[in-house]
């Protein structure tokens, strides 16, 4: 063993104790190492050994839990790459790349970070030889760093598990359909390179579940980001929830989770996963949960049922003598307020249910005589909202236009009054008037009125005197 070449036996014993005891404590602890199984716990031990500063190494690298401080992933990656693995006897060629172990490390780091809600593991590539674990909060990635170990027992603080430990299941696959026939409270399945599952996919749960989470990533041939849509249906084919997210292409992101939930009861029977516009997405894993609460019968239409307001609470005695009219639904025709009188007959005493004294503060009815009929009072309809009379509106319009017309006319008149024309002279003072010669000489006919002529007057005498003649 290469370890014995460099470590003395006491040191080796201490390291072995820490390496064996720590994962055991993690596996058995109540906080759980983020739900790690025994295999993953063993892998943690292996990584922990690699992270310990070997004796004689002048380089000092600090183990920092991801999420508490910013970590320069590139620098830390370089540091880790300079670990004397050969010196530790764990050469890079002896230690094969184990994605499962690194995913476990990432999950453990997320579980120990109180702000972490989800994580994404980025595989190493030619430009970055180490894997990168992205811890994400609700809004944005909480931190960025290289895979970090769990940390020492004295420094680490136990944190509660935020999600139920999924149980690995083996669903039946049939083409693009995956069928889960178990009835466990939780389950999960993961797909690696040996079993590639691509969209479109249909997940069938013979026993409905309450929550389903799928982890997907972009296909290898994807060039741009893609929209992944996840739809959940109940046993009758009614849509329970629809959600989606953008999947970035160009990098192999693991564990990009999308979740749908039925809100408590186990209603999700079918889940459809597909990429928009036929984009191919790769499924990495499926997780589901059951609350074992039977779903209440749901109405047939997919649309949300109309909400009917609850009737007001009235005491039983009041409701018995003064029954309320039925409440109308928003789409139902209005129920007439005035109801015919309803005769209420009190049931015989022996048929009344036996009520406990603590639960029934109201006294039992002593008489068995039927109660008189109660006629609900009639309610007068609300007065109609007063509107502007048509004649008033027309009159207002005419008044406005008439006023405008009057103003325009007065304005025009005032403007025109500014311009006047004064008759300086009618020209009659210098008038030229004349009479031309007659075509014949004038004739003057002279006659004398001796007396005033009256009607019937016998003395009227008219003499005609030629011009120039003396009468």
């Amino acid at each position: 063993m290469t370890v014995t070449r460099l470590w003395s036996r006491p040191v080796l014993a201490i390291v072995a104790f820490v390496g064996l005891g720590l994962p055991t404590a993690i596996a058995c602890g109540g906080g759980g190492g983020g739900g790690l199984n025994a295999h993953e716990a063993a892998l943690l031990t292996d990584f922990l050994i690699l992270a310990i500063k070997p004796e004689g190494d002048d380089k000092d690298y600090k183990l920092v839990e991801v999420g508490n401080a910013k970590v320069d992933a590139g620098l830390l990656g370089v540091v880790i790459n300079t670990l004397p693995l050969d010196f530790l006897g764990l050469g890079s060629d002896e230690r094969a790349y184990d994605e499962t172990a690194e995913v476990a490390q990432c999950r453990a780091a997320c579980s120990r970070n109180s702000q972490c809600r989800d994580f994404t593991y980025v595989r190493p590539n030619a430009s970055r030889p180490v894997g990168v674990c992205h811890l994400r909060t609700l809004a944005a990635p909480a931190s960025f760093g290289v895979m970090s170990p769990v940390g020492d027992a004295g420094e680490r603080s136990e944190r509660p598990v935020r999600e139920a430990p999924p149980i690995a299941t083996t669903p039946r696959t049939n083409g693009d359909k995956i069928v889960f026939d178990d009835g466990e409270t939780a389950g999960s399945v993961r797909y690696g390179d040996n079993e590639i599952r691509t969209t479109p996919l249909t997940l069938k749960f013979l026993a409905p579940v309450s929550q389903v989470k799928v982890r997907i990533r972009a296909g290898e041939d994807a060039s741009t980001r893609s929209w992944a849509q996840l739809e959940a249906f109940d046993a009758k084919g009614n849509l329970v929830e629809r959600t989606g997210t953008w999947i970035s292409a160009g990098e192999f992101t693991f564990g990009h989770g999308i979740a749908v939930s039925s809100g408590g009861a186990d209603r999700i029977a079918t889940v459809k996963l597909e990429g928009r516009d036929g984009t191919v997405l790769r499924l990495d894993g499926i997780e589901y949960l059951r609350t074992l609460i039977a779903a209440a019968p749901q109405p047939a239409p997919v649309a949300a049922p109309e909400r009917v307001p609850l009737p007001p609470r009235v005491p039983a005695v009041v409701a018995e003598h003064f029954p309320m009219p039925p409440r109308a639904t928003p789409t139902a025709p209005p129920t007439p307020i005035t109801l015919p009188p309803v005769e209420i007959a009190a049931p015989p005493i022996e048929t009344l249910p036996v009520l406990e004294a603590a639960a029934s503060p109201l006294p039992q009815p002593a008489a068995t005589t039927p109660t008189p009929a109660v006629t609900p009072p009639t309610i007068a309809p609300l007065p109609r909202k007063r509107q502007l009379p048509a004649w008033l509106a027309a009159g207002a319009v005419l008044f406005v236009f008439g006023g405008a017309g009057v103003y325009w006319r007065s304005h025009r008149k005032r403007t025109l009054n500014r311009l006047t024309t004064r008759l300086v002279s009618n020209g009659l003072d210098r008038r030229t008037v004349g009479v031309g010669a007659s075509s014949a000489p004038d004739i003057g006919l002279r006659f004398v009125v001796r007396s005033a002529a009256t009607i019937g007057a016998p003395g009227t005498h008219i003499e005609f005197v030629p011009a120039g003649a003396y009468a």
Partner: protein, 206 residues
């Protein structure tokens, strides 16, 4: 309109909008009106368009001259009527019907207008020339006490023009003039005195 009170407005058919519109157009082309329009460029457009119409309306006032007054004034210039001024030969109790054969009457006067803006004159005075020609087939003037008391006329034909700066604004073709059978002059027109103004008339009678 009573025939006796008919004036040159009716003579030139000045009440006709179409006739007046033609006259407005002709008046707008005169130099005087163009000068007034140039001075009104700063005024509202309403006033610019109303200047010519205002002048025409004022001209209508200048044409308020009765046709019978033109006849009386013309007859009063007739020399043959002056003999009736001799009271010894023609005492006041004698009435003479002086008959005139077919004759012509000519009248010409020059009214002047001034366009005012905000009580201030703008532009020069605009002078018009009103020419009226009447042709009477006959007329009988009743003279008493050296006054023309009334007149009776036969058919009358009239022609006339209104000019401004030599341009004819309004023109009346020769057509009959409606006059009453007897034109009364009230208390009589003194022979030899000017009508209305009191100044002697210049006579063009032969």
């Amino acid at each position: 309109m009573i025939a006796q009170t008919a004036s040159l407005v009716q003579f030139f058919d000045f009440d006709n909008a179409a006739v007046r519109k033609d006259g407005l157009t002709a008046l707008g082309g005169t130099t005087a009106m163009r000068g007034v329009q140039a001075l009104l460029t700063a005024a509202p457009l309403l006033l610019q368009n109303h200047a010519t119409q205002s002048a025409t309306e004022a001209l209508q006032a200048a044409l308020n001259v009765r046709v019978v007054d033109i006849l009386a004034a013309a007859w009063n210039t007739r020399r043959e009527l002056r003999q009736y001024l001799d009271r010894s030969k023609y005492p006041s109790d004698q009435i003479i019907d002086h008959t005139l054969a077919k004759h012509d009457v000519r009248s010409s006067h020059h009214p002047r207008l001034q366009i005012m803006l905000d009580q201030s004159p703008i532009g020069p005075e605009i002078e018009f020339e009103v020419i009226v020609g009447l042709t009477l087939e006959s007329a009988i003037l009743r003279i008493q006490n050296a006054r023309i008391m009334n007149a009776r006329t036969g058919r009358v034909f009239g022609v006339g023009t209104i000019k401004c700066e030599g341009a004819i604004l309004f023109s009346r073709p020769t057509k009959a003039v409606t006059l009453p059978l007897t034109i009364s002059f009230g208390t009589g027109i003194p022979i030899g005195e000017a009508i209305a103004t009191g100044t002697p008339l210049r006579s063009n009678a032969a």
